[in-house]
Symmetry: C2
Subunit: 527 residues, 2 copies
Amino acid sequence: MTGKNQIGNQLKAAGTIKFRTFNPKLNTENDCIFTEASDGEINQALSLAQDAFGEFRAMSGERKGAFLDAIADEILALDDELIQVYMNESGLPEGRAKGERGRTIFQLRAFANLVCEGSWLEARIDTAVPDRTPIPKSDLRKMKIGIGPIVVFGASNFPLAYSTAGGDTASALAAGCPVIVKSHPMHAGTSELVARAVIKAAEKTGMPNGVFSNLNSRGIEVGTELVKHPIVKGVGFTGSIRGGRALFNLAAKRKEPIPVFAEMGSVNPVILMPEYLQNNTESIAKTYAGSITLGTGQFCTNPGLILGVKSDALSSFIEALGNEITEIDPMCMLHPTIATNFENGKIKLLEQKGIKLVNHSIKSSDPNHAQQGIATVDGGAFLLNSNLHEEVFGPFSLVVQCEDLDQLTHIIEELDGQLTGTILTENSELAANPALIRAMQDRVGRLIFNSVPTGVEVCPSMSHGGPYPASTDARFTAVGTDSIQRWVRPVSYQDWPNELLPDELKNENPLAISRKVNNADTRDAIS
Amino acid sequence: MTGKNQIGNQLKAAGTIKFRTFNPKLNTENDCIFTEASDGEINQALSLAQDAFGEFRAMSGERKGAFLDAIADEILALDDELIQVYMNESGLPEGRAKGERGRTIFQLRAFANLVCEGSWLEARIDTAVPDRTPIPKSDLRKMKIGIGPIVVFGASNFPLAYSTAGGDTASALAAGCPVIVKSHPMHAGTSELVARAVIKAAEKTGMPNGVFSNLNSRGIEVGTELVKHPIVKGVGFTGSIRGGRALFNLAAKRKEPIPVFAEMGSVNPVILMPEYLQNNTESIAKTYAGSITLGTGQFCTNPGLILGVKSDALSSFIEALGNEITEIDPMCMLHPTIATNFENGKIKLLEQKGIKLVNHSIKSSDPNHAQQGIATVDGGAFLLNSNLHEEVFGPFSLVVQCEDLDQLTHIIEELDGQLTGTILTENSELAANPALIRAMQDRVGRLIFNSVPTGVEVCPSMSHGGPYPASTDARFTAVGTDSIQRWVRPVSYQDWPNELLPDELKNENPLAISRKVNNADTRDAIS
């Protein structure tokens, strides 16, 4: 580990700002000293990215796929060194580190397959109609192309899967966009190792220098400079509403505004329908105690808000959930700052009118361990106080006791946008309450039936995003193969000579991709 | 004609601000007095739209398609009354009025077909894998749904096709989004008639009240209020960079930012490659004189910038183009303000260093007629002065005489984003200059070979948009069936009971739409 910035294929450290990462389990700083990227290094990285863009974008899906596959191989080759640094910088256990690495590899390979397969190009061809009246119709062919260099912000809570070579990076590279990572200061070492793997892969597969860079930063300055830079054409971010909105505002004020895909806060409401709750009180409590504390509650899909209708069953559930959550051993949070914010968030919430603490675990003597807990409040008090609608990032949930399903529906309507909404219900209860389903659907990106919101599949049918402030642009998913659509734009070729068209649009269809030709989906050549 | 606002299915005029439209050919105001929408009427229209949204969005494609088809029928039923009012309010000739009506009808029917056919839903299904290790895989199904009420701004230069029931409205309604039109003050009467047709169609096909409203406005206040309103979830606009950017900025500052699709200025560069120019000097001059003056130069794809390499052929072309353009009879502009802006724009351009007027038509004695013209400048002077890169809205083009193809390529690289880029070239010249093609592709949404940029086909392969400032979001087209994607977002259903899924995602595939099931495109049911 060098602590240097990866500027294209060179390691550099001309800057004067130095920092270290922190081991929350040992409550000490890690050894390596990182150097924040200097202005000159930021400019070099962007200039290299700009130079690389033309060549990289024009590469075939097969070559880009080989690059993505090679990144996956090189990350695996880092082996134990990566797992160890990941654990030292996050306080997360080995199983989680390996699981997240597996997901990262899976994502890279999924995008490698996607770019070879070609459906993401949305190729459309309408052939000429020379004898159309009153005027002839031209030949028109359209496909998606990458928009330009993309800045990816590493996420504190996913040092691998949502960071250096995570979903944003994999999808942007797949789209033919060079990537500049602003690594998260909490896991700069993990980022350096992964960046090394990406550069090795780039060199082995003959990618142009500048297709990838990794910049260290201690504070907000490097990220701010990147988002304002004219070479940058898009931004991927996973984190707090405050951080994501600040980047969105910066990007919107540019001379040329650029899209910012910020996946931000969410309380992920869970609705307990009366009959289902009655029939499954204990098992729901057990399952949700697990979901609330998974990854020390540091998942964006953490169920922070549970809503039910006042009843004996709901009272029993609340008691059971409080008990179950104290049965789970307290776990380490990612960083002392996050642990402190969690404690302060709980204190602030518990001071609000009408809030009652149900139960919480004993305070661990280990450093930075979260004291997980459950609180409850009446529906009426919840509606009156929007402070209660906000996320407490960590293993903590609020159970809202509603007067009836009408009040519950009204609460859903009053919530901000959410990544997910879960309903625990008998089929008959679901069928009988269309207004409730409609209200949920209006607020969320993913509706879940009788399960937990934690766990985000990487597949074509995933929607990870939702109305603001769950994300800054609900029209795109941040997870799954469709996330590539964030980084592309359509371009049409009118009456272009066949031999000079991109292969994707040639009559012969040499790549054998699926195309919409005169309104019909086909892989056939055009005769 | 009443001059009133269409607030859902009621006509209202509670406001105090009155105005008339203008007949630029007669140089007089038209008779009807319009009343600007009051704050109360704006709120009523939005509140009705919000109420209508849930029911409307959930309607089948067949029902929405019937509504769109009925709008087309009702617009045709307006017959001569519509054509007359259109001509009185725009100064455009009957042929153009009928052509634009035809295009509007075609757009409505294209979206009617699209919503029945269902490919726009991008339905994706990944079935469960209960025995997957380490954890089972859930059943996940995704489709696109409308985002909510949309505000459409009528465009000054297309009273029908880009206005009240134009492409933005047709695509938003197709997506299941209620539409509130802020009609353009220059053609409030045309808008009232079309709005009446939409409301008749809505009533005949049983659409909820509030699915459509049409608001009069004299200035910017109504539009500003609409864009800031929390009920509004998206905006469509065609017009100036100043206007579009102002709306974009308003939307970006909202608590919940919303997308603004502003299709704005463009000079639509045309490159004359040396050999092709040599072989076709006279015919290019003739064709382009026609393209530059089409619709009195008031098309967003008007070719405002023509670039060639200094040569005898280029000199001959410039002279010929100057002559050809004076052979065409001067035509009326849309409004005295636009005619004045055109004159002022030309004067400002001709004052710039190095600019030479080639030729212009004689000043017509008819009111508001444009004095069309051609100017020229050296490549070096053009590069030094960004004032020369700006659009003069009207029948006027600047021919840039470059030192060589390197300078020409460099000029393309320095241009702002554009809707279109045209290359007039022999195939061999095109093949020999990949850097030039790449530079053009980076700046435009549509590349055109040996033709003119004017004329925008409505079809799946059209990309009408481009890097900023051609549009505020280059990732979407404003014309063609894919423009529906501006108004939708994905929603996923996880483990949802089959009988309670939307028809689009049910196992049986009752709508027989094309879906991606476990990564394969199919119309089959899931067994």
